[in-house]
C-alpha cells in the first residue's frame, strides 16, 4: 500500500497546476483511473487465479521474461533516444 501515500503526494503536488486535463485532482487524472480501473480490477483477480494454477517454475520463468522485456525497453530507450 505504498501507492496510497504516493498517489496522495501527487495529488497535493499538482494541486494548483494550470493546464491539467479536466477531472484531475492534482496530478491524478480521475477520468483515466475510472477508465482503467474496472478492467484492471477484473484482470487482477483473473491473473491471481492464473498464477495459482501455474507451476512455480513456470511462473518464475514468465516473470523473468517479463523483467527482461522491461529491461530491454529501458535499454532501447537509452540507446535510441
Amino acid at each position: 500500500m505504498v501507492s496510497i501515500p504516493g498517489a496522495v503526494g501527487y495529488m497535493v503536488a499538482g494541486w494548483d497546476r494550470m493546464g491539467l486535463p479536466p477531472f484531475s485532482i492534482g496530478f491524478v487524472s480521475i477520468a483515466a483511473v475510472l477508465a482503467l480501473m474496472p478492467t484492471s480490477f477484473l484482470a487482477a483477480t483473473l491473473g491471481a487465479g492464473v498464477a495459482h494454477h501455474m507451476p512455480k517454475r513456470r511462473l518464475e520463468l514468465y516473470f523473468a521474461t517479463y523483467l527482461l522485456m522491461v529491461c530491454g525497453q529501458f535499454g532501447s530507450s537509452l540507446a535510441f533516444d
Partner: protein
C-alpha cells in the same frame, strides 16, 4: 468520436494488461500504464512538462484498487493452497499411538520444517487411514504426512487441501528405523 472510442479501447486494454500482470506477478502495472498514458495524454493536449507527473500520479492511484483486487483474490486461493500439511502420525494401534505420534511429531517437525495447522483430524479411530492408499481412495477423510506401521515410518506425504489429494508422496529415509 472515433478518437474517443479508440482512446477508451486503448485504456481498457491497458487496464486489463496491467491488472493481469499485477495479479500474476504482483508487480504494479505501472510498466504498462505509464507508457500508454504518456502517449494517450498527448491527445488531450496536456503541456509537456505535466505529462510525466500526470502519468505517474494516475498510475499510482490505479495501483491501489488493482493491488487490493489482486490481494483479495490471492488470499482466497492461498488458504486452500498453502499446504496445510497436518503432521500426524498413524499406526495400527491408533488411539495411544496417535497421541504418541503427535508428541513425537513436535520434535520431528523441526526436522521436517513443516507447518502444522491445528485441525482436529480424527474424531474416531475409524477415520484413521491405515495406509496411504487408503487415504488416496478416499476411505479415510484424514490428512496425513506419515503412515506408521509397527512404529516405523515408511511413507510420508503432504495432503493438499485444495486439490484434496496427496502430493509429494515419498519415502522418508530419515524416519526409517535402523
Amino acid at each position: 468520436m472515433s478518437d474517443l472510442m479508440l482512446l477508451a479501447l486503448i485504456l481498457i486494454a491497458a487496464g486489463g494488461l496491467s491488472g493481469f500482470l499485477a495479479g500474476v506477478f504482483g508487480v504494479g502495472g505501472g510498466t504498462v500504464v505509464v507508457p500508454v498514458l504518456y502517449e494517450v495524454i498527448v491527445m488531450l493536449g496536456v503541456p509537456d512538462e505535466l505529462r510525466m507527473p500526470l502519468c505517474a500520479g494516475t498510475s499510482l492511484a490505479l495501483i491501489v484498487p488493482t493491488s487490493i483486487a489482486s490481494f483479495t483474490s490471492h488470499r482466497k486461493t492461498d488458504f486452500g493452497q498453502f499446504r496445510f500439511t497436518e503432521t500426524v502420525e498413524y499406526s495400527d494401534h491408533h488411539r495411544c499411538d496417535w497421541r504418541n505420534g503427535a508428541g513425537a511429531l513436535r520434535t520431528r517437525r523441526s526436522i521436517q520444517n513443516r507447518v502444522r495447522v491445528g485441525r482436529a483430524a480424527h474424531s474416531s479411530s475409524a477415520d484413521i487411514p491405515r495406509s496411504i492408499s487408503d487415504a488416496r481412495t478416499g476411505r479415510a477423510s484424514a490428512s496425513q504426512t506419515a503412515v506408521r506401521f509397527d512404529h516405523r515410518i515408511v511413507r510420508s506425504a503432504d495432503w493438499n487441501w485444495r486439490r484434496h489429494s496427496i502430493e509429494h508422496d515419498h519415502d522418508v529415509p530419515w524416519a526409517r528405523n535402523p
